[in-house]
């Protein structure tokens, strides 16, 4: 089992999970190489978000292996431990800390010690402030840094959440529908940003917007009813009759 996973960053093998008898994930297998960016598409309810829940420790699979870095068994760890291993996540519904300022949202996510006592006596260093400034500039929210996150628009919250994800400096980013609720221009910018990130980190992106997926120009996995229906370039999967039938043709 470990042998096959060797050299991979993320390795899912024969993973299944049911909710009250309904199989949301059905014998799913997926391998991600270090440095790879992967797009996941599929109809509503295909299990895309549930797959991310499994990887990040929110949902325990009933069966199957989920390995990080070729050997770390993610099914035995909780959310915080998985996050600290270097797996970051952006949620489908943007969730930022609404009663904190934009800047504090980034500061809380910033890579560093996570212990309670470390936090109690923490003083923000110049290096950390510098990093926060860079991130705020990257997500174009420098001028909104003191605003409460609750007051941001939907698109800005999406960007803030991407900023928080970057602040964690994860090795693997799981990004669930980053372009939802964005204008075309914002969507295009988000694609550019993700491609930039993918130069240094591994990324899994779930998205329904085909223009966006095309702009990423990476290998695509099509999920359907909890398992992989097809895998390959977007052009290749687009002409796959099964994919057309369940998803793209509609």
């Amino acid at each position: 089992m470990t042998g096959k996973a060797e050299g991979s960053l993320l390795y899912l093998d024969d993973v299944s999970v049911s909710f009250d008898g309904f199989r949301a994930i059905n014998r799913l297998s997926l391998v991600l190489e270090p440095g790879e960016m992967r797009a996941i598409i599929g109809p509503n309810g295909a299990g895309k978000t549930t797959m991310m829940d499994i990887i990040t420790g929110k949902t325990r699979p009933d069966t199957g292996d989920v390995l990080f870095d070729g050997s770390v068994d993610l099914t035995r760890l909780d959310e915080a431990a998985i996050a600290n291993l270097g797996i970051g996540r952006k949620f489908q519904k943007p969730t930022v800390f609404e009663s904190h300022s934009v800047e504090d949202n980034i500061a809380l996510a910033l890579k560093g010690r996570r212990g309670a006592f470390a936090a109690l006596f923490h003083r923000r260093s110049a290096a950390e402030q510098g990093r926060i400034d860079v991130l705020l500039a990257t997500i174009r929210l420098s001028d909104k840094r003191d605003l409460l996150a609750a007051r941001l628009s939907h698109g800005q919250k999406q960007w803030l959440e991407i900023g928080m994800l970057l602040a964690q400096e994860p090795r693997l980013l799981l990004v669930d529908e980053p372009a939802a609720g964005m204008t075309d221009a914002e969507t295009a910018e988000t694609a550019i940003l993700l491609k930039e990130i993918a130069k240094t980190q591994s990324v899994v992106v779930v998205e329904h917007d085909m223009t966006f997926v095309r702009a990423l120009g990476v290998k695509v996995t099509v999920l359907h009813e909890g398992s992989v229906l097809a895998e390959g370039s977007l052009d290749a999967v687009s002409v796959n009759p099964k994919v057309i039938e369940v998803y793209l043709g509609r």
Binding site: T56, K58, D78, E79, A80, A83, N84, G88, R89, F91, T95, V96, F97, E98, S99, H100, D104, A107, L108, A109, R114, G115, A116, F117, A119, L120, F121, H122, R151, S153, M164, Q168
Partner: protein, 381 residues
């Protein structure tokens, strides 16, 4: 490091509160002891003790707000920690009586002689020493809270379920402390205190000192609470309150943070209870009444949860109301309290402090309005 950590933690409003409390600690006792009785500035011993009691309630309210207002843990059992601190102090005061009790036993408190006990139970050992008793005042509630929190936060009990088990905790202690064989004086509790630290407890000078101690402890509690909520840990607490699972996904061990603030808060409630007991002269199981814990939550809601000043204002205001009502219309008090809670929940979600802030910002910062409108227009564009 600790002192600069504490001092830096106060904002302007916090400095005003601490300065006011220190002034109270000096002026009210002076008004009682130094100003002659006829003067308008004279404070009677009754008023002094009443206000001292309110200050201990304010400290209890502050401890409730720390967990509820800042971390979203609605405790309906904080009265238990308050009462445990009170019992620890009561045990010290009982042992100070010495052979002056009715049965004149040099070691055993009267109720133990009455029960025919031959020796002091193990958990009463050491309470003749002030330093030990004063340590237990915070330690006993702290340890209980730690164990309780460790079990419940680890199993991710939250929301209403957690509130219910905190009620169960205080109710269980209520029943336990009613029992004579528990060794805490049963139904009657601990009372007939004589001395504290060797000073006669009924003397005006001692009463004034207890008042000052309450005001200064409240000030200290306020500074600590302020340091905690303004630290990065405090920001994590608010993050947990607003989006607990999100906080886990960026790598914070939520249960550790909750456990920290929960234990700290319980210790604070214990200190409040310990200052309460010598001023009212008795501690009995009724302090564990679940209704008492709910009342403390109402003080916080009325004053303004999630603010540091709010619980202080709420505790004092509601208890003034209670004293007044129970003097004039005792039957009406509970209904008035209930109505107050409903009104505050519906119309003043941020309590008196929130109302005050809205009034002040509405008056003094009209310049901010166009700015905000501009932002909205920008978003819409």
């Amino acid at each position: 490091m600790i002192t600069s950590f504490l001092i830096d933690s106060l904002d302007r409003r916090g400095r005003v509160v601490v300065a006011l409390l220190v002034a109270l600690a000096l002026l009210v006792p002076a008004g009682n002891l130094l100003v002659p009785e006829g003067s308008a500035f004279h404070v009677s011993t009754y008023q002094l003790t009443l206000c001292g009691k309110y200050l201990t309630y304010a400290l209890l309210a502050l401890s409730v707000d720390l967990v509820w207002g800042y971390c979203g843990i609605l405790s309906l059992g904080h009265g238990a920690f308050f009462a445990l601190g009170g019992y620890a102090m009561g045990m010290y005061l009982m042992r100070q009586i010495g052979s002056r009790g009715v049965y004149a036993d040099p070691v055993l408190p009267d109720f133990m002689v009455f029960l025919n006990w031959k020796e002091l139970p193990w958990f009463w050992q050491g309470f003749d020493m002030a330093w030990y008793a004063f340590l237990m005042v915070a330690l006993v509630p702290g340890v209980l809270a730690f164990l309780f929190g460790w079990l419940s936060f680890r199993s991710r009990v939250t929301g209403v379920y957690l509130s219910i088990i905190t009620q169960a905790l205080t109710y269980a202690l209520l029943l336990a402390f009613f029992r004579n064989d528990m060794g805490f004086g049963g139904n009657n509790g601990l009372t007939d205190f004589k001395d504290i630290l060797g000073f006669p407890i009924q003397e005006p000078g001692t009463r004034a000192a207890l008042f000052s101690a309450s005001a200064l402890m409240l000030a200290l509690g306020f500074v600590i609470a302020s340091a905690v909520v303004r630290s990065k840990l405090g920001k994590v607490l608010v993050a947990i309150r607003d989006a607990e699972s999100r906080t886990r996904f960026i790598g914070y061990r939520v249960e550790h943070y909750k456990l920290f603030v929960w234990t700290l808060s319980a210790g604070m409630a214990g200190v409040a209870g310990a200052l309460y007991v010598p001023q009212v002269g008795i501690i009995n199981p009724s302090e564990f009444d679940p209704a008492a814990s709910i009342e403390a939550v109402i003080w916080v809601a009325v004053g303004g949860r999630g603010t540091l000043v709010g619980p202080l204002i709420g505790a004092v205001a509601v208890n003034f109301g209670k004293t007044w009502f129970t003097g004039v219309l005792p039957e009406v008090w509970l209904y008035a309290l209930g109505a107050l809670f409903v009104v505050v929940t519906l119309f003043l979600p941020r309590g008196i402090v929130g109302l005050w802030e809205t009034v002040v910002s509405g008056r003094s910062k009209p310049a901010k309005e166009p700015d905000e409108a501009g932002e909205k227009a920008g978003e819409a564009a």
